[in-house]
Protein backbone atom coordinates (compact mmCIF):
# COMPACT_ATOMS: atom_id res chain seq x y z
CA UNK A 1 0.00 0.00 0.00
CA UNK A 2 1.25 3.47 -0.81
CA UNK A 3 1.85 5.96 1.95
CA UNK A 4 1.40 9.66 2.12
CA UNK A 5 0.42 12.58 0.01
CA UNK A 6 2.71 15.51 -0.71
CA UNK A 7 5.93 13.53 -0.54
CA UNK A 8 8.70 13.57 -3.12
CA UNK A 9 8.56 9.77 -3.30
CA UNK A 10 5.84 7.16 -3.09
CA UNK A 11 6.88 4.35 -0.76
CA UNK A 12 5.19 0.98 -1.11
CA UNK A 13 5.79 -2.29 0.72
CA UNK A 14 6.31 -5.35 -1.49
CA UNK A 15 6.98 -8.25 0.88
CA UNK A 16 10.38 -7.68 2.48
CA UNK A 17 11.18 -4.83 0.12
CA UNK A 18 10.18 -1.17 0.18
CA UNK A 19 9.92 0.44 -3.25
CA UNK A 20 10.57 4.18 -3.26
CA UNK A 21 9.34 5.66 -6.53
CA UNK A 22 10.47 9.22 -7.26
CA UNK A 23 7.39 11.04 -8.51
CA UNK A 24 8.87 13.31 -11.23
CA UNK A 25 12.21 14.73 -12.39
CA UNK A 26 11.18 18.14 -11.13
CA UNK A 27 11.27 17.01 -7.50
CA UNK A 28 15.02 16.54 -7.92
CA UNK A 29 15.65 20.11 -9.08
CA UNK A 30 18.15 22.33 -7.30
CA UNK A 31 15.31 23.84 -5.27
CA UNK A 32 14.29 20.68 -3.49
CA UNK A 33 17.06 18.14 -3.98
CA UNK A 34 18.03 18.39 -0.30
CA UNK A 35 14.42 17.64 0.66
CA UNK A 36 14.62 14.49 -1.43
CA UNK A 37 17.67 13.35 0.57
CA UNK A 38 16.11 14.36 3.88
CA UNK A 39 12.90 12.49 3.09
CA UNK A 40 14.65 9.24 2.18
CA UNK A 41 17.14 9.45 5.06
CA UNK A 42 14.32 10.06 7.57
CA UNK A 43 12.39 7.13 6.13
CA UNK A 44 15.40 4.81 6.28
CA UNK A 45 16.48 5.82 9.77
CA UNK A 46 13.07 4.87 11.17
CA UNK A 47 13.26 1.38 9.61
CA UNK A 48 16.27 -0.67 10.78
CA UNK A 49 17.32 -3.32 8.27
CA UNK A 50 15.23 -1.78 5.49
CA UNK A 51 15.57 -3.21 1.97
CA UNK A 52 15.00 -0.19 -0.25
CA UNK A 53 14.56 -0.30 -4.02
CA UNK A 54 14.73 3.23 -5.41
CA UNK A 55 12.73 3.42 -8.62
CA UNK A 56 13.71 6.12 -11.16
CA UNK A 57 11.05 5.33 -13.78
CA UNK A 58 9.66 8.88 -13.71
CA UNK A 59 13.04 10.63 -13.83
CA UNK A 60 14.68 11.86 -17.07
CA UNK A 61 18.00 13.01 -15.70
CA UNK A 62 19.71 13.75 -12.43
CA UNK A 63 22.36 16.24 -11.43
CA UNK A 64 25.48 15.83 -9.31
CA UNK A 65 23.53 17.27 -6.37
CA UNK A 66 21.22 14.24 -6.52
CA UNK A 67 24.27 11.95 -6.52
CA UNK A 68 25.42 13.66 -3.33
CA UNK A 69 22.02 13.03 -1.76
CA UNK A 70 22.15 9.39 -2.85
CA UNK A 71 25.52 9.06 -1.11
CA UNK A 72 23.86 10.39 2.05
CA UNK A 73 21.07 7.87 1.64
CA UNK A 74 23.60 5.08 1.14
CA UNK A 75 25.37 6.02 4.39
CA UNK A 76 22.03 6.07 6.22
CA UNK A 77 21.16 2.63 4.82
CA UNK A 78 24.53 1.26 5.95
CA UNK A 79 23.89 2.82 9.35
CA UNK A 80 20.73 0.75 9.83
CA UNK A 81 22.20 -2.42 8.26
CA UNK A 82 19.83 -2.13 5.35
CA UNK A 83 20.23 -2.61 1.62
CA UNK A 84 19.82 -0.12 -1.21
CA UNK A 85 19.21 -1.03 -4.84
CA UNK A 86 18.40 1.22 -7.82
CA UNK A 87 16.21 0.38 -10.82
CA UNK A 88 14.56 1.87 -13.94
CA UNK A 89 17.47 4.16 -14.77
CA UNK A 90 17.27 5.93 -18.13
CA UNK A 91 20.27 5.80 -20.47
CA UNK A 92 21.39 9.28 -19.42
CA UNK A 93 21.07 8.54 -15.70
CA UNK A 94 23.03 5.31 -16.08
CA UNK A 95 25.69 7.27 -17.95
CA UNK A 96 25.88 9.78 -15.09
CA UNK A 97 26.58 6.93 -12.66
CA UNK A 98 29.20 5.47 -14.99
CA UNK A 99 30.99 8.78 -15.65
CA UNK A 100 31.33 9.40 -11.91
CA UNK A 101 32.24 5.75 -11.15
CA UNK A 102 29.30 5.57 -8.77
CA UNK A 103 28.03 2.53 -10.65
CA UNK A 104 30.74 0.74 -8.64
CA UNK A 105 29.33 1.95 -5.35
CA UNK A 106 25.62 1.42 -5.92
CA UNK A 107 23.97 -1.82 -6.96
CA UNK A 108 22.01 -0.96 -10.10
CA UNK A 109 19.43 -3.28 -11.57
CA UNK A 110 19.18 -2.68 -15.32
CA UNK A 111 15.50 -3.47 -15.19
CA UNK A 112 12.17 -1.87 -14.46
CA UNK A 113 10.37 -1.91 -11.11
CA UNK A 114 9.03 -5.44 -11.44
CA UNK A 115 12.32 -6.86 -12.70
CA UNK A 116 14.19 -5.03 -9.96
CA UNK A 117 11.84 -6.39 -7.33
CA UNK A 118 12.35 -9.97 -8.57
CA UNK A 119 16.14 -9.64 -8.55
CA UNK A 120 16.18 -7.98 -5.12
CA UNK A 121 13.90 -10.68 -3.68
CA UNK A 122 16.07 -13.41 -5.21
CA UNK A 123 19.18 -11.83 -3.66
CA UNK A 124 17.46 -11.74 -0.26
CA UNK A 125 16.38 -15.40 -0.65
CA UNK A 126 19.95 -16.47 -1.48
CA UNK A 127 21.26 -14.54 1.50
CA UNK A 128 18.69 -16.23 3.77
CA UNK A 129 19.64 -19.67 2.39
CA UNK A 130 23.33 -18.97 2.99
CA UNK A 131 22.61 -17.82 6.53
CA UNK A 132 20.62 -21.03 7.17
CA UNK A 133 23.54 -23.14 5.96
CA UNK A 134 25.90 -21.37 8.33
CA UNK A 135 23.67 -21.92 11.35
CA UNK A 136 24.89 -24.71 13.62
CA UNK A 137 22.58 -27.74 13.41
Amino acid sequence: MSEASDQILDFSQEGAIIVGTIRTSSVLSAINVAEFGNEVVAYVESRPGVNLLLNFENVDYLSSAVLTELLRVNKAIEGVNGKLRLCSLSKVILEVFQITNLDKMFTIYHEDREGGLRRFQRALDIQAEEAAWKEPS
Binding site: S29, A30, S63, S64, L71, R72, S90, V92
Partner: protein
Protein backbone atom coordinates in the same frame (compact mmCIF):
# COMPACT_ATOMS: atom_id res chain seq x y z
CA UNK B 1 31.78 37.50 -31.67
CA UNK B 2 28.14 36.83 -32.62
CA UNK B 3 25.24 38.25 -30.67
CA UNK B 4 23.75 35.70 -28.26
CA UNK B 5 20.34 34.35 -29.26
CA UNK B 6 19.58 34.02 -25.55
CA UNK B 7 20.87 36.06 -22.61
CA UNK B 8 19.49 36.36 -19.08
CA UNK B 9 20.76 37.72 -15.80
CA UNK B 10 19.18 36.51 -12.57
CA UNK B 11 19.74 36.82 -8.79
CA UNK B 12 21.54 33.94 -7.10
CA UNK B 13 18.56 31.95 -5.92
CA UNK B 14 17.64 28.45 -7.06
CA UNK B 15 14.08 29.59 -7.79
CA UNK B 16 15.26 32.23 -10.26
CA UNK B 17 17.88 29.84 -11.60
CA UNK B 18 15.31 27.13 -12.38
CA UNK B 19 13.13 29.54 -14.35
CA UNK B 20 16.09 30.75 -16.41
CA UNK B 21 17.23 27.16 -16.95
CA UNK B 22 13.82 26.25 -18.41
CA UNK B 23 13.91 29.24 -20.76
CA UNK B 24 17.49 28.49 -21.87
CA UNK B 25 16.66 24.88 -22.71
CA UNK B 26 13.56 26.05 -24.58
CA UNK B 27 15.73 28.47 -26.60
CA UNK B 28 18.16 25.68 -27.56
CA UNK B 29 15.23 23.56 -28.71
CA UNK B 30 13.64 26.47 -30.59
CA UNK B 31 16.90 27.35 -32.36
CA UNK B 32 17.41 23.71 -33.34
CA UNK B 33 20.66 23.17 -31.42
CA UNK B 34 19.18 20.20 -29.59
CA UNK B 35 16.33 17.80 -30.17
CA UNK B 36 13.92 16.68 -27.47
CA UNK B 37 15.90 13.46 -26.99
CA UNK B 38 19.05 15.48 -26.20
CA UNK B 39 17.33 17.65 -23.62
CA UNK B 40 18.28 15.65 -20.49
CA UNK B 41 22.05 15.83 -21.18
CA UNK B 42 21.97 19.49 -22.11
CA UNK B 43 19.75 20.43 -19.18
CA UNK B 44 22.12 18.55 -16.89
CA UNK B 45 25.16 20.54 -18.11
CA UNK B 46 23.36 23.87 -17.87
CA UNK B 47 22.10 23.06 -14.38
CA UNK B 48 25.56 22.02 -13.18
CA UNK B 49 27.09 25.25 -14.50
CA UNK B 50 24.33 27.42 -13.06
CA UNK B 51 24.35 25.69 -9.66
CA UNK B 52 28.13 26.17 -9.48
CA UNK B 53 27.71 29.87 -10.23
CA UNK B 54 24.93 30.37 -7.67
CA UNK B 55 26.39 28.24 -4.89
CA UNK B 56 30.16 28.39 -5.28
CA UNK B 57 30.60 31.58 -7.32
CA UNK B 58 28.10 33.83 -5.62
CA UNK B 59 27.75 31.94 -2.33
CA UNK B 60 23.92 31.91 -2.64
CA UNK B 61 23.92 35.68 -2.22
CA UNK B 62 20.77 36.99 -3.92
CA UNK B 63 22.38 40.42 -4.19
CA UNK B 64 24.87 38.95 -6.66
CA UNK B 65 23.77 37.95 -10.12
CA UNK B 66 24.50 35.18 -12.58
CA UNK B 67 24.40 35.68 -16.34
CA UNK B 68 23.92 33.01 -18.95
CA UNK B 69 24.20 33.47 -22.70
CA UNK B 70 23.83 31.11 -25.64
CA UNK B 71 25.59 32.05 -28.86
CA UNK B 72 25.47 30.56 -32.33
CA UNK B 73 29.12 30.26 -33.36
CA UNK B 74 28.44 28.54 -36.66
CA UNK B 75 29.62 24.99 -36.16
CA UNK B 76 28.94 25.03 -32.45
CA UNK B 77 26.83 26.66 -29.77
CA UNK B 78 28.72 28.37 -26.97
CA UNK B 79 27.22 28.60 -23.50
CA UNK B 80 28.66 31.19 -21.13
CA UNK B 81 27.80 31.32 -17.45
CA UNK B 82 29.33 34.14 -15.43
CA UNK B 83 29.09 35.02 -11.76
CA UNK B 84 30.54 37.54 -9.32
CA UNK B 85 32.75 35.11 -7.43
CA UNK B 86 36.50 34.52 -7.31
CA UNK B 87 36.63 32.15 -10.28
CA UNK B 88 38.35 28.79 -10.53
CA UNK B 89 40.48 26.73 -12.87
CA UNK B 90 38.57 23.98 -14.65
CA UNK B 91 41.83 22.07 -15.19
CA UNK B 92 42.49 21.98 -11.45
CA UNK B 93 39.16 20.35 -10.61
CA UNK B 94 40.18 16.81 -9.68
CA UNK B 95 38.07 13.74 -10.34
CA UNK B 96 36.28 13.14 -7.01
CA UNK B 97 36.99 10.21 -4.73
CA UNK B 98 34.26 7.57 -4.77
CA UNK B 99 32.65 8.55 -1.47
CA UNK B 100 33.34 12.29 -1.79
CA UNK B 101 30.12 14.20 -1.28
CA UNK B 102 30.49 16.81 -4.04
CA UNK B 103 32.65 17.87 -6.96
CA UNK B 104 31.07 15.85 -9.76
CA UNK B 105 29.42 18.68 -11.72
CA UNK B 106 32.46 19.66 -13.76
CA UNK B 107 33.17 15.98 -14.53
CA UNK B 108 29.69 15.65 -16.00
CA UNK B 109 30.03 18.86 -18.02
CA UNK B 110 33.40 17.71 -19.37
CA UNK B 111 31.85 14.43 -20.46
CA UNK B 112 28.79 15.79 -22.22
CA UNK B 113 30.24 19.00 -23.71
CA UNK B 114 32.92 19.18 -26.39
CA UNK B 115 34.89 22.06 -24.91
CA UNK B 116 34.95 23.46 -21.38
CA UNK B 117 37.07 26.34 -20.11
CA UNK B 118 36.98 29.08 -17.52
CA UNK B 119 37.68 32.61 -18.75
CA UNK B 120 39.08 34.25 -15.63
CA UNK B 121 39.11 37.71 -17.23
CA UNK B 122 35.31 37.56 -17.53
CA UNK B 123 34.74 35.23 -14.56
CA UNK B 124 32.91 33.02 -16.98
CA UNK B 125 32.56 29.28 -17.55
CA UNK B 126 32.44 28.58 -21.27
CA UNK B 127 31.28 25.34 -22.80
CA UNK B 128 30.36 24.43 -26.32
CA UNK B 129 28.79 21.64 -28.30
CA UNK B 130 27.98 20.88 -31.92
CA UNK B 131 24.44 20.87 -33.24
CA UNK B 132 22.74 17.61 -32.40
CA UNK B 133 21.63 15.73 -35.53
CA UNK B 134 17.91 15.26 -36.13
Amino acid sequence: MSTPFFREEFPSTFEAMTETLDRAVAALLREGWIQTADEPCTRLCLEEALVNAVRHGNDNDAERSVTISLTDCGESCTIRVSDEGDGFSVDEVAFPELEQMGGRGICLIRHFMEEVAFDSSANCLEMSFRRKAM
